[in-house]
């Protein structure tokens, strides 16, 4: 993520971050988003958004 992209996102979200802290936030987001941007989304199966383990199924399939 470039600083310019970070500023674009800040404008869109109506969020202000002091200029001298932008590089730190940019680094935090770049690191966090790296695996997301590397994802080929077509290769991942459908999923549920929350982690829950079904009591009945849990013993056999380890929570899937």
């Amino acid at each position: 993520m470039t600083l310019e992209e970070l500023r674009d996102r800040m404008r869109a979200a109506r969020i202000e971050i002091p200029e001298h802290r932008l590089e730190l936030v940019r680094r935090l987001l770049t690191d966090a988003l790296q695996p997301i941007h590397a994802l080929d989304s077509r290769a991942v199966r459908t999923l549920e958004p929350a982690v829950t383990f079904d009591a009945e199924r849990g013993r056999d399939d380890h929570g899937r």
Binding site: L24, V25, A32, I36, R45, V51, T52, G58, H62
Partner: protein, 462 residues
Amino acid sequence: MAAEDLSYATIRELSSRLRRGDLSPVELTRATLERIERLDPQLHAFVTVTADRALADAKAAEAALARGGHASPLLGIPVAYKDIYATRGILTTGGSALLADWVPDADATCVMRLQRAGAVMLGKLITHEFAFGIQFPGHRFPAAKNPWDLDRMPGGSSSGSGAALAAGLAFGALGSDTGGSIRGPASFCGIAGLKPTYGRCSRAGVLTLSWSLDHTGPMARTVEDCAYLLEALAGWDPTDPASSREPVGDYVTPLGRGVRGLRVGVPREFFFEGIDVEVEKAFEQALAMLRQLGASVQDVQIPSIQAAGANMVIMLSEAFAYHEHDLRMHPERFGEILRERLLAGGLITASEYVQAQRLRARLRGEMADVLHTVDVLATPTSPKPAPTFTAVYDPEYGFPRGNTSPFNLTGLPALAVPCGFSSSGLPLSIQITGRPFDEATVLRVGHTYEQATDWHTRHPKV
């Protein structure tokens, strides 16, 4: 038993002495309160010491012991709670100026369960601000210090819980863990800490950081003590939407069964990146000990493990959603570092959040596959020992990559156990992770290793 030994006694030892009558809960509580009064001014583990409440609880425990028939091993045991657990009538700050005066009108479920088991409430333990920030110099609440080296952090966010246990200021504590906040402090402070399976212990009445990643759990000086605490904590809670109805097992009895025949998997990718040489050496020695105790150890592959970074995307997004109103209305009441981390969450797109959840599903599936072939996973808990405050306060210090967050993403039970010391005398730790709701095996492996070593018997000079 000398006063110092009493401070580091285990729950089993204390429970036995309390039942025999050669120690009373009131004596034990007074001795612990005196130690807190003497040592906490330099450690800052406690935000609030509830001395009157502790003595009242101790007297009630004494009466219950005199009556007989109370089976709980926690009866009369002094414990303390991370200050994000609501406590009825007692200040609950979340380590934040925003809640500096909040007095809840109900106990968190975990607090209620430990109190019902007869535990004595010593007070509230400092947490990193809203379990995510850091108390920088000048913060309303001073940061807890690591009893092994006061210039170093005790880890976080359950910083006070780790510091108090390492210094012998409590016999059990509650922590919470969204990316490693139970296991990190356990690792840096040389104690045991268990993040149970997601849904095993209630989050009701605990301040939220990230709904789908937050876990509550016990911290103590031994694995067995964690097991005692877990037995009181675990179980369905209708007031927590994520709470599981999975039956609660016996966590203490199986501890003595050893590890002969158990299969330990070691995922080498990701967990050894940037690792300290001394951490790696201590970890390999721990594996050798597990082999010697009869376990088989093999390397395993988790193909999508690099996707573990998705934990941060989910945590930032959910934390922003939780705090957005206060961030926009009262930004000045958040510490600078926490405010920026939370605001960063507001810059993540909906698509990125959803993709992070999809990566999470893939990682869960792969870990489930691996846990068909081995009984537990073992990794170093932290790649490095505790950092100095000077390092962490440097504006260039980034958010450290940890070995704990993959198991928040997957919800699996994970335990931190001491496995050695660095040459500079700092604790090192091994992390044992198991199948969903198989805390019994995780604790059994940790306990067997712990009892074959003496790391847990060493204490800092405070």
